[in-house]
Symmetry: C2
Subunit: 269 residues, 2 copies
DNA sequence: GAGTGGTCTAGACCACTGT
DNA sequence: CAGTGGTCTAGACCACTCC
């Protein structure tokens, strides 16, 4: 304990550097804990602290019986919401041939339709106070709750976790909207809503962050203790009614969201 | 080790519940580690793991010689960037009386001008590749680098950490812009740029998240191991030139950013 | 069942805070 | 100097993976 920085931090730093220098490549196994202990590098507790911090940083992944291995880094995915939302709305007016297999998920990931799987589960829940307030309906109003996640076949990790809500009475005007087996709906939410006479006028995004829950980190394939981005998306109709609300959980390390804000020109120039 | 969930997790959960139930109030000291050890609740390592996880969750703060205490929760601050940017630009045209003491920081925090301190430090740096590419200038071009942070007097924590860049040659057209002692500039960046004949036409925000560095967590007063929001703000002039770029670090637990995206109406309805 | 990470203990010693 | 958290050790035993 001669130095100011803890020993476990120094050990972690050493391996972090080696990983960055590609001395260990993705998939490679780092020395076993017991091995480093017997080499006299430190006690098991100390080595474990070092390895754990590398895991939180997202550099390695540990599994019982499978060692501590260098993690594959996924690329960041940029979501340009200005473009995305406008494009998504315009799509709804296109013929079905074009709508089918051209969802925003495909846009996001740059993958073809066949390369994206959609998992959906629908149920009906009474609105709690927060939800009721958002929609301007009495608490307890029945809501259609749609849970989604998308994935690439063969890869178990989710691209995002989505909880979407609609007023059940409104959605049920087209019974097809209540059927989860019809997801993904060709043309997305805008087209779905157009079938019940609703046009979306504006979307409000509220963005925040927090540490992932254990469930989220496993499902999204991100390190335990790493952050997620929370996106609360509220869609307002041309009648100024809130018609849809989505709570989206995005993997922090793989997500970037971009907005372009146009400004009014100064007069006379 | 009878149960599936680790003992340290259970201990942490117990105290987390007590804190939520306000059995311990903000500022209260939790039982000392040694005390819980002598009560036979677990070994020192186990108790420490429990307390550390409470710290990462942001429920408590620990300090050598000062015990483990329940943390005061700061309120979330909502930044409505659509409104904010438009308002900030409009302000630049107002008379100085109005501009002075009406910055966006005051808007964000809801505090009066006297209640916000601005700390600024300026220097000149050559553009690295990323910066050069953003501005469309050759790498090595001299840039004015302005570092800011704002705080409430008496409270050492920063509201945000800002690194702002301008092309030095452009900024130097008004020598006042190079003088950090003139910060905060009444009317903000838009007014500053207007003095050198620049009008900002649009702003692009790129949002991402990661865990705070040690320095950031200390400076922003957030738990070690908690996330920050990174906001990369690019201002484009009416001449379609990138004129300013800011890298903003925001405390994750206290920040929410909101955008409203208007959509084009469908024809004929 | 061998390999490998995860939890836990008991106790020594370090480092910072405040009287 | 007393109080209190932080680091470290050596070793026991648990739980999961893969052969």
């Amino acid at each position: 304990m001669a130095s100011r920085t803890p020993k476990w931090r120094e050990i972690a730093e050493t391996f972090a550097q080696k990983i960055r220098d590609r001395e260990y490549l993705p998939g490679d196994q780092l020395p076993q804990i017991r091995e480093l202990v017997s080499q006299g590098l430190g006690s098991k507790t100390t080595i474990m602290a070092a390895y754990r911090s590398l895991e939180t940083e997202g550099l390695v992944v540990t599994a019982r019986g499978h060692g501590t291995r260098v993690r594959r880094q996924y690329p960041r995915q940029v979501r340009r919401h200005q473009t995305r939302y406008g494009w998504e709305k315009a799509l709804a007016l296109k013929p079905e041939v074009e709508r089918r297999g051209n969802g925003v998920v495909e846009q996001d990931t740059g993958l073809a339709h066949e390369q994206v799987e959609c998992h959906a589960e629908f149920n009906t829940v009474p609105a709690d106070d927060r939800l009721a307030q958002r929609f301007g309906v009495p608490p307890g109003t029945l809501m259609l709750h749609r849970q989604y996640w998308h994935s690439v076949p063969g890869d178990p990790i989710a691209l995002s976790l989505i909880d979407s809500y609609l007023v059940h009475e409104v959605a049920s005007r087209n019974p097809d909207l209540l059927d989860s087996s019809l997801e993904p709906w060709p043309g997305g939410t805008h087209h779905q809503l157009s079938t019940i006479g609703i046009e979306i006028d504006q979307i409000q995004d509220d963005i925040s962050t927090r540490l992932a829950t254990l469930h989220e980190s496993q499902h999204l394939g991100i390190p335990n203790g790493s952050p997620v981005i929370l996106l609360d998306k509220t869609s307002v109709s041309t009648d100024a009614e809130v018609v849809e609300f989505s709570h989206v959980v995005l993997p922090g390390e793989r997500t970037e969201i971009s907005y372009t804000v146009p400004l009014e020109r100064w007069p006379g120039r």
